[in-house]
């Protein structure tokens, strides 16, 4: 296909879901399920197809495809911010994931949300989310990226708070939006600083000109990278701003699959990968990125060990997997991180959707301690779920294995990461395998701890999408090479980490850890998998409750930020400045009252007053002459 054709396809790519969003919103109530589902899924099919076409066009000789719509606004004569798309290998991977996984999730959601009365509104939000994500990924300048960034934040707010009748969902949606907004503000300040230092906001120019205008270790790239990291941390639910992700499970399951597994949470990783030009110039910040990833990895792994709700386990596991990606970016292994992002999108979406199918079958029962013995009852969902778990644990042969090995392999000898971070990664892998096995035993083995009759989902659409996703997650690793997406040219500037000097036992340990985890879980969680009695008591020790609440970050922020702000607001509800001004109004009325009280109508007092005043008057007149012989 010739040049103009591909740019046209690229331009239209985000517009299909936008058109379907507008259609669904305007005709919300009058559309039947079939029409609404076909519009939304159809739009997704179109954009998936066009993204496939466009990715094929990418090749060695045309590494970048751009298309320009119109000039948004001009910052300075030299720098024009315009609505234009920029496709290279990195964003190709991203749009592949977004549209591919997005399509499958749309199909699943069409079946899953069939009975919900405002189904059209749900599909409209899903489409709007895809548009925002595509804008984020395809943006050629940081302001358009920020537009996609905030749009994604708004859609996640809408989708988390989809069932807004319950107060809990409303608060969860608000928390998600405000916490991500904190990250966005940090990123915005980063943009301002970037513009002040370089006068540029277009990503490609920044990456090229970065090492010309600054050299490694300058203060400007340090602060800009740090602020961009703040934005990424907010959106990808990493350490300081990760409290919103577990609560975001209040939304419907397809939402969790699409937003909180496959696409939105990876936006932070994409931002760092995209702005690697700046990050490379600030090695300390790369170190921070690695450490943030490692710490989140461990924290989320620990929390996932003790969760009772199946979706919260998966949420914490997403958080830890993204920790892996951050770790790899921090270590400088950009392409490995992005590769893990892709494979993770597939198997995590699979895990969430199958969990959704299981929840639907158990009549919205999400508590693991109320499940059990599902392997026999729901064989189809159970088998797919196990495939997902296998990839999650990165057992050899699964797609997770390829991507996680790529990351762990490069940690040891990268100068920004190092052996300590390698050991954190290994510990994380261990934790992942333990909580995956625990999840598996609780949900699928042991005796069934539920009384309600199983209503297995018979809809073909649902099962089809799950099957395709399962295939994708198994062969994801190969898919990358199949499309020979070579991310190398994108990250040309990043130094290749030579793994030759590494000790050779690293590889064996990395492969062995998942199995060690499985054996340990097999022994430790014996009573989960073989228990014959009906109820299983979950341990309520202080440590478990502490981990359950995300290692205390929630109440830390609550008492550190939320409560003081509310108290300050309540304390100053009636505006200090207003009261200051009302103060002198009160003072004037006070004087008025004093004087008024002297006019009480008694004539004799008035006469006395007149006498007094004349006396006073005479005194004043004669004040000087009083002594001397004033001639009367």
């Amino acid at each position: 296909m010739d040049e103009s054709m591909t740019t046209l396809i690229l331009t239209l790519l985000p517009l299909y879901p936008l058109v379907s969003f507008l259609l669904l919103i305007s005709l919300a109530t009058r559309l039947s399920w079939t029409v609404a589902a076909s519009i939304s899924v159809g739009a997704m099919v179109l954009s998936a197809l066009s993204s496939m076409l466009v990715i094929n066009q990418l090749s060695v000789d045309t590494p970048i495809i751009t298309s320009q719509l119109w000039t948004w606004f001009t910052l300075s004569p030299s720098e024009e911010i315009n609505i234009s798309f920029y496709l290279d290998a990195l964003s190709a991977v991203m749009i592949g994931v977004v549209t591919g996984v997005g399509l499958l999730i749309h199909i699943f959601a069409a079946a899953y949300m069939k009975e919900d009365e405002n189904f059209t509104r749900f599909m409209a939000y899903m489409n709007l989310f895809i548009v925002a994500m595509l804008l984020l990924v395809l943006a050629d300048n940081l302001v358009l990226l920020y537009l996609g960034w905030e749009g994604v934040g708004l859609c996640s707010f809408l989708l988390i708070g989809f069932w807004y009748q319950e107060k809990a969902n409303v608060l969860a949606a608000r928390k998600a939006f405000i916490v991500t907004r904190v990250g966005d503000t940090a990123m915005a300040i980063g943009l301002f600083m970037l513009f002040k230092e370089t006068g540029l906001l277009t990503i490609a120019d920044i990456n090229q000109s970065a090492n010309i205008s600054w050299n490694v270790g300058d203060t400007q790239p340090y602060w800009i990278a740090l602020l961009l990291l703040g934005g990424a941390v907010g959106k990808s639910a990493q350490l300081p701003l990760q409290t919103w992700l577990p609560d975001a499970m209040a939304g419907p399951t397809p939402v969790s699959a699409l937003i909180h597994a496959a696409t939105m949470v990876t936006a932070g990783v994409y931002l760092i990968a995209r702005m690697h030009g700046v990050f490379l110039l600030a090695p300390e910040v790369m170190g921070y990125v690695a450490w943030v990833g490692a710490l989140t990895l461990l924290l989320a792994g620990g929390a996932a060990l003790v969760q009772t709700d199946i979706k919260r386990v998966l949420a914490y596991s997403t958080m830890s997997q993204i920790g892996y990606m951050m770790l790899s970016l921090g270590a400088g292994a950009f392409s490995a991180g992005v590769f893990h992002l892709m494979t993770h999108a597939f198997f995590k979406a699979l895990l969430f959707l199958t969990a959704g199918a299981i929840i639907l079958a158990l009549h919205h029962q999400q508590n693991l301690y109320k499940m059990g013995g599902l392997l026999k009852r729901l064989p189809f969902e159970a088998s797919l779920f196990t495939i997902g778990l296998v990839c999650l644990m990165a057992l050899p042969g699964s797609s997770g294995f390829f991507s996680k090995e790529a990351i762990i392999g490069q940690l040891w000898s990268s100068e920004t990461a190092g052996p300590t971070l390698w050991w954190c990664a290994i510990a994380g892998a261990l934790l992942t395998s333990i909580y995956s096995c625990r999840l598996f035993f609780l949900a699928f083995l042991g005796s069934s701890r539920f009384s309600v009759p199983l209503q297995s989902s018979s809809s073909k659409l649902l099962q089809l999408s799950l099957l395709v996703l399962a295939i994708l997650s198994v062969f994801g690793g190969l898919l990358a090479n199949l499309l020979d997406i070579n991310l190398a040219p994108v990250f040309a500037k990043a130094a290749i980490i030579d793994t030759s000097t590494q000790p050779d036992w690293l590889h064996t340990v990395a492969i062995a850890t998942p199995f060690i985890g499985i054996v340990y879980a097999w022994i430790y969680y014996a009573n989960y998998r073989v228990s014959n009695h009906k109820t299983l008591v979950e341990s309520h020790s202080v440590l478990t409750r502490f981990c359950q609440q995300g290692l205390g970050f929630d109440c830390l922020y609550h008492y550190l930020l939320v409560k003081p702000y509310c108290l300050l607001a309540k304390f100053n509800r009636r505006d200090i400045f207003d009261q200051l001004i009302m103060l002198n109004a009160w003072y004037v009325t006070l004087c008025h009252d004093i004087f008024v009280s002297s006019q009480h109508g008694k004539l004799r007092w008035y006469a006395a007053a007149i006498g007094l005043v004349t006396l006073l008057f005479l005194l004043i007149l004669n004040i000087d002459g009083f002594g001397s012989e004033a001639s009367l």
Partner: protein, 496 residues
């Protein structure tokens, strides 16, 4: 000549609306509506025809007639890009006001429309007057009908709010009057001829000390009107007690007269004094942003919350204007338009909610989205505009202001960026408390969705917000900002 024609036409139609009401019930509003639409179309064509030949980056004097010959006070009107933008905003919001108060006003309807149109005439006068005395005259003319609007058709303690509004503005404009008189005397001393003409004053070289105090005199008057923190407390009261159209007009346009005054009569008239005063004004701007956001979060009353959010938005304008940066200046002008539209939208929404449940108290609202999906959608869009969601006009405005201000005051901008989080918080509180959560069926019987008229108002405002959000050059290329004299162009391109 056009502007005088516009003003006379509006005032005449105001009187007609008043008398028409006497003759036939409910005819006042039709007269008002038709006249406003007719005059807006006329103005558009008048400007389009003359557009090509005239460059509106400079002040184009329209009319100059001697008014009080003895002091050579002239009836002088002039137009430039700033006045055009703000006059069109006024006309648009006038139409919105009339549509919004269609069924709301039951008592003394004719007089209501008279007041509405009279204050609009005053506002247009303020934006176009170039003779300082005439400017002060219109400044007072616009104030009286507005006070009447609040005092007669307001809500429960409207008298208090109206009096507070009147005293605040009146006292501050007295300072301005003093400054105007001193300037004219200075002009007399230097050129032997008393003059109130803006151009003559520009040519005057005022000693720094007096210029500083004169600038302060003007600044305080406009800081009260553009509510910056220490003197803002009239706005929440005026807004909560004003009728819907009153709040729309108040928030949409009256605040802009403050900003217009700042640009025209503080920054351009006393450039060196204001650049000397700029750091303090920047601090004031930041304080209003953060304080407005915090106070908005604390409010229980829908309109009061939106009023405090206006204070926060206007803090951005103050900060952007006093950073003397081209980009920030563009951002400030865009904020004027964007805030005008978004706060007008939020207030009309408040009016619609008040019409249905007769209360503005947030705790006893909730779950309206179930019963009024379309209104919920619009409310979400307008709340999103309030907290600067990209894609809507406010984001571009805030982004430009903050990018521009960052070049000059980095720390202030970082603090102002906290205002973005604050705006997100109160935007959430506003939207979720009223439209999400459970519907208080005990208190509220039914909640109808938008009527056609309301739908038209909301969609008009939303489409404008989106168009300006995605294509701000509609406003910005009215003036090529390259040669605005008083703006320093130290756009960093340090690296490249």
């Amino acid at each position: 000549m056009t502007i005088t024609l516009v003003m006379c036409f509006i005032f005449v139609s105001a009187c007609i609306a008043w008398f028409a009401e006497g003759i036939k019930e409910n005819s006042g509003r039709y007269v008002a509506l038709l006249s406003m639409i007719a005059i807006s179309i006329y103005l558009v064509f008048a400007l389009l025809l003359s557009e090509s030949s005239v460059d509106y980056s400079q002040l184009q004097i329209l009319t100059r007639l001697p008014w009080i010959a003895h002091f050579n006070i002239e009836y002088a009107l002039a137009l430039d890009y700033l006045s055009i933008i703000l006059v069109f905003l006024t006309l648009l919001l006038a139409v919105i006001c009339i549509l919004v108060s269609w069924h709301e006003i039951k008592t003394k309807v004719g007089f209501y429309y008279f007041n509405l149109l009279a204050s609009i005439t005053g506002i247009i006068g303020v934006f176009t007057a170039i003779d300082m005395f005439l400017f002060f005259f219109f400044w007072e003319v616009m104030l009286l009908p507005m006070t009447a609007l609040i005092a007669i058709w307001g809500h429960e303690n409207r008298h208090f709010a109206a009096i507070k509004f009147f005293i605040f503005t009146q006292v501050s404009s007295l300072l301005m009057l003093v400054a105007i008189i001193v300037m004219s005397v200075l002009h007399f001393q230097q050129t032997g001829r008393v003059s109130f003409f803006y151009q003559d004053w520009l040519a005057l070289d005022v000693p720094f000390k007096t210029a500083y105090y004169l600038m302060l005199g003007f600044f305080i008057a406009f800081a009260v009107k553009l509510p910056s923190v220490p003197v803002h407390s009239w706005l929440p009261d005026a807004h909560t007690q004003a009728p819907t159209a009153g709040s729309v007009l108040l928030a949409g346009v009256l605040l802009k007269t403050g900003a217009y005054g700042l640009i025209r009569f503080v920054l351009q008239l006393f450039p060196d004094a204001s650049s000397n005063f700029a750091p303090y004004a920047a601090v004031l701007g930041v304080v209003s942003i953060l304080y407005g956001a915090k106070m908005a979060f604390a409010q229980q009353d829908f309109k009061r919350l939106v009023a405090y959010s206006s204070i926060s938005h206007m803090g951005f304008v103050m900060l952007a204007l006093f950073s003397f940066n081209t980009i920030a200046y563009q951002g400030a002008i865009l904020t004027l338009v964007a805030h005008g539209l978004s706060s007008a939208a939020l207030f009309s929404l408040a009016g619609m909610i008040y019409k249905r449940i007769h209360s503005r108290h947030l705790p006893d609202m909730g779950g309206f989205w179930q019963h009024a999906p379309r209104m919920g959608g619009f409310a979400l869009a307008f709340a999103a505009a309030a907290f600067g969601l990209p894609g809507l006009a406010n984001f571009v405005a805030e982004f430009l202001s903050l990018v521009g201000t960052y070049q000059v005051y980095p720390i202030h901008t970082m603090l102002a960026a906290l205002g973005l989080i604050g705006s997100a918080i109160y935007g959430m509180v506003l939207f979720q408390n009223s439209f999400q959560g459970s519907f208080p069926s005990t208190k509220i019987a039914s909640f109808k969705d938008l009527s056609i008229r309301e739908f038209f108002v909301c969609s008009l405002l939303l489409s404008l917000l989106i168009v300006i959000g995605f294509y701000p050059d509609l406003i910005l290329n009215l003036f090529n900002h390259s040669h605005i004299a008083w703006l320093t162009d130290d756009v960093a391109g340090a690296g490249l």
